[in-house]
Symmetry: C2
Subunit: 177 residues, 2 copies
Amino acid sequence: MAFTEQAAGVSEQVAPQTKGFTLNHSMVRIKDPKITLDFYTRIFGMRLLRKLDFPEMSFSLYFLANLDEDASVPSDTADRNQWTFSQRGLLELTHNWGTEDDADFHYHNGNAQPQGYGHICFAVPDLSAAVEWFDANNVEFVKRPEQGKMRDVAFVKDPDGYWIEIVQPDLCRSLGL
Amino acid sequence: MAFTEQAAGVSEQVAPQTKGFTLNHSMVRIKDPKITLDFYTRIFGMRLLRKLDFPEMSFSLYFLANLDEDASVPSDTADRNQWTFSQRGLLELTHNWGTEDDADFHYHNGNAQPQGYGHICFAVPDLSAAVEWFDANNVEFVKRPEQGKMRDVAFVKDPDGYWIEIVQPDLCRSLGL
């Protein structure tokens, strides 16, 4: 039987109808792809797997991931579409054309009211080195590791104000214990 | 050099300071864990990797993933904390205690105004079979595959009204081409 912790509501069995279900991506809308792609590719080391343009609906989608050095990415675009949608844990950015030219336009980050969405989280091998790297790149912090009740956890903001949690897995061993 | 598509803003190089960065999870707040855990574990086949309780701040965190049948999950909770935060593409649910007892309480799904967050997306091996499974479990659809401009893509709602996109990767080969 597949592992699971127990909690009220948790199904002990995995239904065969869910075999192969994969959490492919999480999507947020962004105002200006030039600024946000720079942020996620240069400062977070992500790669742009696919950019999909829908001119008839005036929007573009960007699919990003941190790739292993030996990742084998299909060069054919149709093959790469299929490959991209088969991956696990991508970031999808949606750009509705023209928002970047409206000085007053901004998206809602889900942490201000009305609340809902919270954040994405990156695991990093060395939290202190990551903090140094973010400072060197003028990344805005919501919470530095030494602030607040949850030590060893940082939060930064992306260009649209969405929160990004930063954790170092071996520093999370005692979290909640 | 690591693969990337080109687009304005995309960094060609992967900075060495980002080595090991991993998109660990995406977080949304939920009203009632009993209802939402049933939804994601029974209907989407996810497993609860860790539940972390923070009584002093009156909230709990739930980390979920679809596991491979041969996944080796550490039994020790501290080991499993570290393992959980090392994974890629998890779903984190935050439950602020007491919201489930307030009939009028609800979270904002990011697609109604004010917009921001959009959805998570599951890849499934057989979209038609998945639709049948969701119908059999009374899952609410935002868009069935045959509705709207983007055929072969469905959207359903989770118990809090957050959108979940459903795709079958080989049906996405021509998307945006």
